[in-house]
C-alpha cells in the first residue's frame, strides 16, 4: 500500500494522458489522409432522411432539460459532501450519522417539492 501521498503519485496520469493523446492524434491524422474526398452540395447538407433541409438545427429546446441540469448540479455537490463523511463514518459514529440525516432530510424535502411540482414529469 502507498503511504507517502505525494504529488508525484500523479505523474503516471501524465504518461497515460500523453499516450492517449498520441493515439488519438495519430489515428485522426491517418484516417484524414487515407480516405477519399469527394464533395457535392447535396452531400454536404445535414442528413434529414432525404428531404430538403428545413431551417436550422440549433433551435431552443424544452426547459425540462435545463431544470434537470440544475438539479444535477445540486445533487452532485451533495454527493461530494457525502464522500468525506462516508470515509470518516466509523470515526464520526452516531453524531455524524445524525448530522447527515439532518442534511439529507432538508435536501430530500426540496426534492419532494420538486417532484410534487411536476418538474420531473415527462409527457
Amino acid at each position: 500500500m502507498n503511504t507517502s501521498y505525494l504529488p508525484s503519485d500523479y505523474l503516471p496520469v501524465l504518461i497515460q494522458l500523453l499516450l492517449a493523446l498520441g493515439f488519438i492524434v495519430t489515428t485522426m491524422i491517418v484516417t484524414h489522409s487515407v480516405g477519399p474526398k469527394r464533395k457535392s452540395q447535396k452531400k454536404d447538407d445535414p442528413f434529414e432522411c432525404g428531404i430538403p433541409v428545413q431551417g436550422d438545427a440549433r433551435t431552443p429546446i424544452s426547459i425540462k432539460y435545463f431544470l434537470i441540469a440544475i438539479l444535477f448540479v445540486l445533487f452532485d455537490v451533495e454527493v461530494i459532501f457525502l464522500y468525506p463523511w462516508a470515509v470518516n463514518f466509523k470515526g464520526l459514529g452516531l453524531t455524524g450519522f445524525i448530522e447527515m440525516i439532518l442534511f439529507m432530510g432538508l435536501l430530500l424535502a426540496g426534492f419532494y417539492y420538486v417532484i410534487r411540482k411536476g418538474v420531473l414529469k415527462w409527457e
Binding site: M1, N2, Y5, S8, D9, Y10, L11, P12, V13, I15, Q16, L17, L19, A20, F23, I24, T27, M28, V30, T31, V34, G35, P36, K37, R38, K43, D44, D45, P46, F47, E48, C49, D56, A57, R58, I61, Y65, I68, A69, F72, F75, D76, V79, L82, Y83, A86, V87, N88, F89, K90, G93, L94, F97, M100, I101, L108, F111, L120, W122, E123
Partner: protein, 388 residues
C-alpha cells in the same frame, strides 16, 4: 518517485493501454458472436478462422472511408467531439488494480510494484471525475454536427448521463462507509474473504450501480441517445470513418472499464476463494519471488475472467431487454434509483453503527415482497393494453 519505478509504471500503463484497446476491438467481434448465438445464427465467420480477423477488417474499412465533415458543421468542434469521447474512455482505466503486485529482487531487497497504473488516495473520485467528463464528447459532437437528430441525441445523452451519475455516486457511498477509504486497492483488499465481497454485503448498491453503469455506457436498454427508430443514429448521425469509429470504440472501452469497476468494487477484484492457501503453496514450492509473481498472475487471470463475464452480461442484456421510453428512463433514474440509493446509505449507516454489515438485505427482502404482492394485485387487462 525515482526514475526506475516511473519506468516500470510507464511499462504497466503501456501494457494496460494495449490490453484495453485489444479487448475493446474484440468486444465488437464478441458482441456479434453473442448476438448470433442468442438469435440462433452463425455470426461473422468469413475473415480468418471463426471470423477472428473480422475486427481488424472492420478497423481497416473505417480507416479507408471518407473523413466527411458537413458544410454547416463547426469544423473543429466536430473533430473535437469524438476525440474527447475517446480521451475520457482511455483515461478511466488508470486506477484499476489489475492484480496484487509484481515482486522484483534488486540488490538483495524485494521491491513490490503494484499492478496498477496509478495508486492514489482518491481512486474512486478519479473514476467519478472521468465519468462526469464523459458527457462532453457526446454533447460537443452532437452540437457541432448542426443536425436536428444529432442535437436531440446529444441532449438526451447528456440528461441521461447526468441523471444516472447521481445514483452512481450515491450507490458507491455505502461501500466507502464500510471500507473507510477512497483508494480502489483498499476497497479490493477489504474483500479478501469470499463472504465479505461487497455484492453480498451491498446487494442493493450493486444493482443500482449496475443499472447506472448501463446508463452511463449508453447500452441497451438505455441507448436512447442513438435509438434508430426515432433519431437515425443519434449524436453520431453525421459522423463517418474513424471519427464514428472513435464513438463506437469509446463505448466498448467504457464497457470494459465499467466491467472492471464492477468486478473490483463488488466482486473482490483479483481475489478468489482460498487465495492465501494458493499463494502460500506457490511461494513455498517455487520460492519467494517466482511464487509470488505466479500467484499475482493467477489473481489477474481471475480478475479478467470476472471482467469478461460482465462484458458478456452487457451483451446478453442488450439482446434480452427492449429499450425504455424517455419518461420511463427519467422516472427510473430520479424517482426510483436516487431515493433507493439514499435509503441504502441510511440503512447501511444504521447497521454499521451496530457493526452489522448485511442490513441492506432488509431492503431487498421488503422490495421483493412488495413486488410479489403488487404483481398479484395488478389487474390482468393492464398487462396487454388494447390498441386504440
Amino acid at each position: 518517485m525515482d526514475l526506475t519505478v516511473l519506468l516500470v509504471k510507464g511499462l504497466i500503463i503501456l501494457v494496460i493501454f494495449g490490453i484495453t484497446l485489444l479487448i475493446a476491438t474484440y468486444s465488437t467481434y464478441a458482441e456479434r458472436k453473442v448476438a448470433a448465438f442468442l438469435q440462433d445464427r452463425l455470426g461473422p465467420n468469413r475473415a480468418g478462422p471463426f471470423g477472428l480477423l473480422q475486427p481488424i477488417a472492420d478497423a481497416g474499412k473505417m480507416f479507408f472511408k471518407e473523413d466527411f465533415i458537413p458544410a454547416q458543421a463547426s469544423k473543429w468542434l466536430f473533430i473535437l467531439g469524438p476525440c474527447l469521447a475517446m480521451l475520457t474512455a482511455l483515461m478511466s482505466s488508470a486506477v484499476i488494480p489489475f492484480g496484487d503486485s509484481i515482486r522484483l529482487a534488486w540488490d538483495g531487497t524485494n521491491y513490490d510494484i503494484p499492478m496498477q497504473a496509478i495508486e492514489i488516495n482518491i481512486g474512486v473520485l478519479y473514476i467519478f471525475g472521468v465519468v462526469s467528463l464523459g458527457v462532453y464528447g457526446i454533447m460537443v459532437g452532437g452540437w457541432a454536427s448542426n443536425n436536428k437528430f444529432s442535437l436531440l441525441g446529444a441532449i438526451r445523452a447528456a440528461s441521461q448521463n447526468i441523471s444516472y451519475e447521481i445514483a452512481l455516486g450515491l450507490s458507491l457511498i455505502a461501500i466507502l462507509m464500510m471500507t473507510g477509504s477512497l483508494s480502489l486497492r483498499a476497497i479490493v483488499n477489504e474483500q479478501a474473504t469470499f463472504f465479505e465481497w461487497n455484492v453480498f454485503t451491498q446487494p442493493l448498491g450493486f444493482i443500482i450501480f449496475l443499472t447506472c453503469a448501463f446508463a452511463e455506457c449508453n447500452r441497451t436498454p438505455f441507448d436512447l441517445p442513438e435509438c434508430e427508430t426515432e433519431l437515425v443514429g443519434g449524436y453520431h448521425t453525421e459522423y463517418s470513418s474513424m471519427k464514428l469509429g472513435f464513438y463506437l470504440f469509446a463505448e466498448y472501452i467504457n464497457m470494459f472499464v465499467s466491467s472492471a469497476f464492477i468486478s473490483s468494487l463488488y466482486f473482490g477484484g483479483y481475489h478468489y476463494p482460498f487465495m492465501n492457501a494458493v499463494h502460500d503453496g506457490l511461494t513455498g514450492s517455487l520460492g519467494e519471488i517466482a511464487g509470488h509473481n505466479i500467484a499475482t498472475a493467477i489473481g489477474t487471470v481471475v480478475f479478467f475472467a470476472k471482467i469478461f463475464f460482465f462484458i458478456f452480461f452487457f451483451m446478453w442484456v442488450r439482446w434480452t431487454i427492449p429499450r425504455f421510453r424517455y419518461d420511463q428512463l427519467m422516472n427510473l433514474g430520479w424517482k426510483s434509483l436516487i431515493p433507493l440509493s439514499i435509503l441504502n446509505v441510511v440503512v447501511t449507516g444504521a447497521g454499521l453503527l451496530y457493526d452489522i454489515k448485511y442490513t441492506t438485505w432488509l431492503i431487498v427482502v421488503v422490495m421483493v415482497v412488495l413486488a410479489l404482492t403488487s404483481n398479484a394485485r395488478a389487474p390482468k387487462s393492464q398487462a396487454a393494453p388494447q390498441r386504440a
